[in-house]
């Protein structure tokens, strides 16, 4: 399938269905692996940064920040107060946990060397000799696979001292998180990497000035790093051409929920949500009702709105976001208030608690939705939801509070009649539905 884009080819997933694709031997022999690194090491760091800038690669973790620009923020020769040079760190954010997102896990298990190669190139570009891979703690198996891949890369001389005779040294270290969604936020991740509570930091200073262990640091997502070898190997033009004017390359879209073929699909960005659902086998068990296009934090869209294209700018124009590429499909058997409560109880649990707007707000929202579902909701509650959201978004240290308001606000804005029905008829019982067993308050998160 050409997806109406003559330039498109898979950058990351081309070989993920072949046996042995995760091994270094496969990567070198079939995927021209570590050739981009060889090329990059012959270039000046600034030239590598320029190449990535021109490719229009944007961060794949959720915020979509231009990667080349992020790299260019790193100071060239940072020194401490005594004039001694400071180390710089490159950090890979592998704390994948945005509900609906499961693309990085595919890279970890099927093509880890792409990410490793991307990190070594990144290290050369920003002048760092050490990279940390921060992996969510639940990935016991995945972290061992990644460690094996790292060990293999050391054995072949792609990591360690004097890589490929270039004089450039680079080490990679794995760090395991311990079950906290907020650690996907880059400054929370840095705190966690330092062995502290994963609480986001006030910015400025930005990580490029004061990052991990107080040193200049650059944090990028797994998929972002995995795209870098292609850009160096095939040239920025080819990568940029595949995308839109302001965003190069392909995207990994994880389609889940009510579709016949849920999976990660590597796609060009000029497809609409409806077309992507078609690629994922169509809606399962009913008609399309709503879609969350970019991970749980992205405001949801109604079925009528799903003609929108999935590049960053089109989705932003539609009042939602491309986020982490997790596309969650819901059919018409779903009660939107229940579905949204599923997300809100998650946010309530995961708020780090630093800012009162977020700590209290996420709690109140979850409680109000619970009350509405169980027959205790009032018409007033419905207006309060928007009010609480207004006091959360943009009022806190990090974007978590904004993320909570994504599903909360969009659900009541677009599906208000379902809320009103629950209020008038006395909750789920009144409309002949049973309470979800996972929505009991007691023990929900213990």
């Amino acid at each position: 399938m050409m997806y109406n884009n003559e330039h498109f080819e898979p950058v990351i997933t081309k070989f993920v269905n072949e046996p042995g694709c995760e091994t270094i031997e496969f990567y070198i022999s079939k995927e021209n692996g570590y050739k981009a690194l060889e090329k990059a090491l012959k270039m000046k760091p600034a030239e590598v940064v320029e190449e990535v800038k021109k490719s229009n690669l944007r961060g794949r973790g959720g915020a979509g920040f231009p990667t080349g620009m992020k790299w260019s923020f790193m100071p060239a020769n940072p020194v401490d107060a005594n004039g001694n040079p400071k180390p710089k760190y490159l950090v890979c954010n592998a704390d994948e946990g945005e509900p609906g997102t499961f693309k990085d896990r595919l890279i970890f298990t099927k093509t880890p060397h792409k990410m490793i190669e991307g990190m070594i190139i990144g290290g050369h570009a920003i002048g760092s000799n050490k990279g940390f891979i921060y992996i969510r703690g639940e990935w016991f198996k995945e972290s061992r696979l990644m460690q094996k891949a790292i060990d293999d890369a050391y054995a072949k001389g792609f990591l360690g001292k004097n890589i490929l005779g270039s004089g450039f040294d680079f080490d990679l270290v794995i760090y395991l998180g311990a079950g906290a969604y907020i650690c996907g936020e880059e400054t929370a991740l840095l705190n966690s990497l330092e062995g502290k509570r994963g609480e986001p930091r006030l910015k400025p200073p930005f990580p490029a000035q004061v990052g991990a262990y107080g040193m200049p640091s650059c944090v990028n997502n797994v998929e972002t790093f995995a795209a870098v070898p292609y850009i160096l190997d095939k040239g920025w033009e080819k990568y940029a051409k595949m995308g839109t004017e302001r965003s190069g390359g392909t995207r990994l879209i994880g389609v889940s929920g009510h579709v016949n073929k849920p999976a990660v699909y590597e796609l060009p960005m000029n497809l609409s949500i409806n077309e992507i659902i078609e690629i994922a086998g169509g809606v399962k068990g009913g008609k399309l009702k709503a879609v969350i296009p970019g991970g749980a934090s992205a405001p949801m869209l109604t079925a009528a709105e799903c003609d929108v294209k999935t590049d960053y700018d089109s989705l932003a124009k539609a009042g939602t976001m491309a986020g982490s590429g997790g596309l969650i499909v819901m059919n018409d058997s779903v009660n939107i208030v229940e579905a949204t409560y599923t997300l809100l109880k998650f946010y309530e649990h995961e708020s780090c608690g630093q800012c009162s707007q977020c700590r209290e707000g996420s709690h109140w929202l979850a409680r109000m939705f619970h009350r509405i579902l169980n027959g205790g909701g009032t018409q007033e509650d419905l207006d309060y939801i928007a009010k609480i959201c207004g006091n959360m978004a943009g009022q806190t240290i990090c974007a978590f509070a904004d993320a909570v308001t994504g599903p909360a606000l969009s659900s009541i804005k677009k599906f208000r009649s379902e809320f009103e029905e629950l209020v008038m008829k006395g909750g789920l019982k009144g409309i002949g539905r049973e309470q979800s067993i996972s929505h009991r308050v007691e023990g929900a998160h213990v």
Partner: protein
């Protein structure tokens, strides 16, 4: 007292990190792995080993969901009930597990075999519903598959086997 195994492992990775505190998450993971939970006593030892005040250890241990501050069952059964799993029938798995084990989420069976809980998104949404049994993921589940998993786990426990865990080599982390 921390075991020699934990100390040796931490000493092995110490040169990779610029600060002592960076070793706190790994130490707590290793404690959890060895004892099944993180006790006040073990937090004290962790603090002494890394030269950190107990308050620092506690604030970190209590922040992260994976560090259990109370004794757990031998098998920690965590069912994901977040959106994609919920849409694909996670509730049926929770109902089945609760009925079979005779406990609710957040509880441990009387014989100390199983702890049941709901867990937040495991990044396995494409193969929903999913669960974690100690360190192992199980995906694309339904009730019959869950029953099989629990049958096997019960059998392994009765035979005195370790369930869903890889034995760590000393000095290696992760």
């Amino acid at each position: 007292m921390l075991s020699e195994k934990i100390k040796n492992t931490i000493n092995g990775i110490r040169p990779q990190f610029p600060t002592e505190q960076a070793l706190l998450l790994p130490v707590l993971h290793l404690i959890q792995d060895e004892y099944g939970w993180v006790s006040e006593e073990s937090m004290k030892s962790a603090g002494e080993f890394l030269n950190l005040p107990l308050s620092k250890v506690k604030e970190v241990a209590s922040f992260y969901t994976m560090y259990k501050l109370h004794p757990q069952g031998k098998v920690d059964l965590q069912i994901c009930t977040n959106i994609s799993c919920w849409l694909n029938g996670a509730d049926k798995l929770v109902a089945c597990a609760e009925k079979r084990l005779g406990i609710k989420c957040g509880e441990t069976t009387k014989d100390g075999s199983f702890t049941l809980s709901q867990v937040e998104c495991l990044a396995a949404c494409g193969t929903a519903p999913a669960l974690m049994l100690n360190e192992d993921y199980y995906e694309s589940l339904d009730v019959p598959k869950l029953n099989e998993i629990l049958d096997q786990a019960s059998k392994d426990l009765a035979a005195g086997k370790v369930v869903g865990k890889t034995t760590r080599k000393e000095g290696v982390w992760p």
